[in-house]
Symmetry: C2
Subunit: 343 residues, 2 copies
DNA sequence: CTGAAAGCGCTAACAT
DNA sequence: ATGTTAGCGCTTTCAG
């Protein structure tokens, strides 16, 4: 691929002039500029960003690490982040940690080696310890945590108010007259899963309904686990709960699968509310009531926070901890009054 | 962030020795190596890949451009590609063209400017012309086309045998006794959509069933379009077809939505087969019969083709045109014999 | 086995 | 307004 030196030779000017034309930072006379530009076209010149970065010590690139790009929640966040990055003239490199903290550390180091100017991190989680040491924080470019906010460290973050969001979903079920509301969670090693569980407890307490341990089903992101747990819970001798609340989309989808597999229907046999869109969202018959997170905004805002930190360059400023509200979309699965029966 | 020069000073050796230790290309005595390595730890050194790339003219990075990362089909391909890249020690940068050819050209140029060593492209399509000029082919790093193979240009590609795959789906419906089989397609500007339509025709012809234009419904990726087209087709005066075949997941999902919205059930009122997993795949009640593409393999194989091209460096070799088979997963939606009715 | 030095392509003084 | 030049961090000869 052509270099500026070659352009200079072809255009009959110096390398510095070529650079001036291309970067646009210094005025160049019209005649020379034209010559350079036609050389650019002739040689199909593409600036070497690597060389430019080495010189300027800037890459205009942001990195992002997500636990699993095949979970629909994450591509939506990626979209928002990419959009915000592009608006401000930055590129975004997206990497997948595959729920693996060791790999996450590798990815972070890779991004640092690539000299990205900031990193958006949805922590892989797993163990507590893992969450708290996401690859030796404290050096390298700024990090904004999204979705999963680490406990303890003072860092920028953008997430949903999990407790309030869960409370909203559970309160909705209470308002519909349910008192036997079970909850199926994701892995409780994740702080936001814990918070959602707290929101559940809070809603019950405020509603004057006792919290019963037998209705709290700690789950995971694993398909079979969730199905097994739900199966046991739904068919337990004490009788099944009248409602089930799922704290994330992956778990919620499997929970719904279990309900169907047990030959039950929502809301006829059991009311159901879940966090997140079940990919086909309004598609289920009956429709599934969901607590929706503002996915695009999470990504978008996170980039704004990151770029403000980068460009304003105030390293010791107090962290931005942005909490976005979720919204409740009420559909039939939580509605006692119109039990539809459609295949 | 620390540089090799700083390491050298701390370790009391020359910069060249530090480089030798880090790259591992030249043997360094144990004593010096230890010193360097402890300096690495002390300064939390991260090699500057930018500088390395500038020198070596290698980035060990691959680029990938997809039309829409939020369509579940693509993250699955990305997974396969990332996995293969990692196996061979390459990084993968994923970009989203948002179905927009102009943006696709930008993304390609960006990747070239970043000096990626090869590009995996799922073309944005749209207009024919767009497909045929994916950003001035012929210079820059090698390109492997996935999923959507350009007409005319001789290039490496990895895709599914669309015609055969569609034929398989339609033949299945014929075998179930259907003769009034409608087809709803994606945008027919895409060659693979055309091929799938040809597969439909071929299956009918081989089955001795006349092809009727009124049963061919050219669609798009647009939600409302598809719903409108299906609505019209399903409620047409001539009576609705006995089966519907959808040529991709996005269109298929909307088609199914239309079926439900019209108060119909599969397979009771109409049999239904679609390309691609409907995100919740085996979840629908009744289950949806699907033509499944080997998504992970498509990405994985594409990286292999690309890296072979890069590393073997045979520029004028005849192109690899890999066609992977799809598989048919038969579920209830196409089964006349056991019309379940479950909500 | 180690050190010194050149140079990858580009930008940004500085000099003309 | 244009040309000249140093140097970003690294690898890689080439001497020693």
């Amino acid at each position: 691929m052509a270099t500026q030196k070659e352009l200079a030779k072809l255009a009959g000017v110096s390398a510095g002039t070529v650079s001036n034309v291309i970067s646009g930072s210094v005025r160049v006379s019209k005649g020379y500029r034209e010559k350079v530009l036609s050389a650019v076209r002739a040689l199909n010149y593409q600036p070497n960003l690597i060389a430019r970065s080495l010189k300027t010590n800037r890459t205009r690139t942001l990195g992002m690490v997500v636990p699993d790009i095949t979970i629909p929640f994450f591509p939506k966040i990626v979209r928002g982040a990419e959009s915000a990055a592009r608006e401000r003239g930055y590129f975004l490199i997206v990497l997948d940690s595959e729920h693996n903290h060791a790999r996450e550390v590798d990815m972070m180091n890779l991004l640092r080696s690539q000299r990205v100017e900031g990193i958006l991190l949805v922590a892989a989680g797993g163990s507590k310890e893992a969450l708290e040491t996401p690859g030796s924080v404290g050096y390298g470019p700024p990090i904004v945590y999204l979705d999963r906010v680490p406990r303890g460290i003072e860092a920028d973050s953008v997430s949903v108010d999990d407790r309030k969001a869960a409370e909203m979903g559970v309160s909705h079920l209470l308002a519909r007259g349910h008192t036997e509301i079970a909850i199926i969670t994701g892995p409780l090693t994740l702080k936001n899963e814990q918070e959602r569980l707290r929101g559940y407890r809070q809603a019950l307490q405020r509603g004057g309904v006792p919290v019963r341990d037998s209705l709290i089903w700690p789950g995971s992101f694993n398909r079979d686990d969730v199905v097994r747990i739900c199966h046991r819970g739904l068919l337990r001798p004490a009788g099944r709960p009248s409602a089930l609340f799922a704290t994330n989309g992956v778990t919620g989808l499997e929970a719904l699968r279990s309900i169907y597999a047990a030959g039950l229907e929502t809301p006829r046999d059991i009311a159901f509310v879940t966090f997140d869109e079940l990919t086909t969202d309004d598609f289920f018959q009956p429709g599934i009531t969901s607590v929706l997170q503002p996915t695009f905004d999470i990504g978008h805002r996170a980039v704004e926070v990151l770029l403000n930190r980068i460009e304003k360059g105030r390293p010791n400023r107090t962290p931005d901890k942005i909490r976005l509200p979720a919204t409740l979309v009420v559909r039939e699965s939580s509605d006692l009054r119109s039990p539809k029966t459609r295949p």
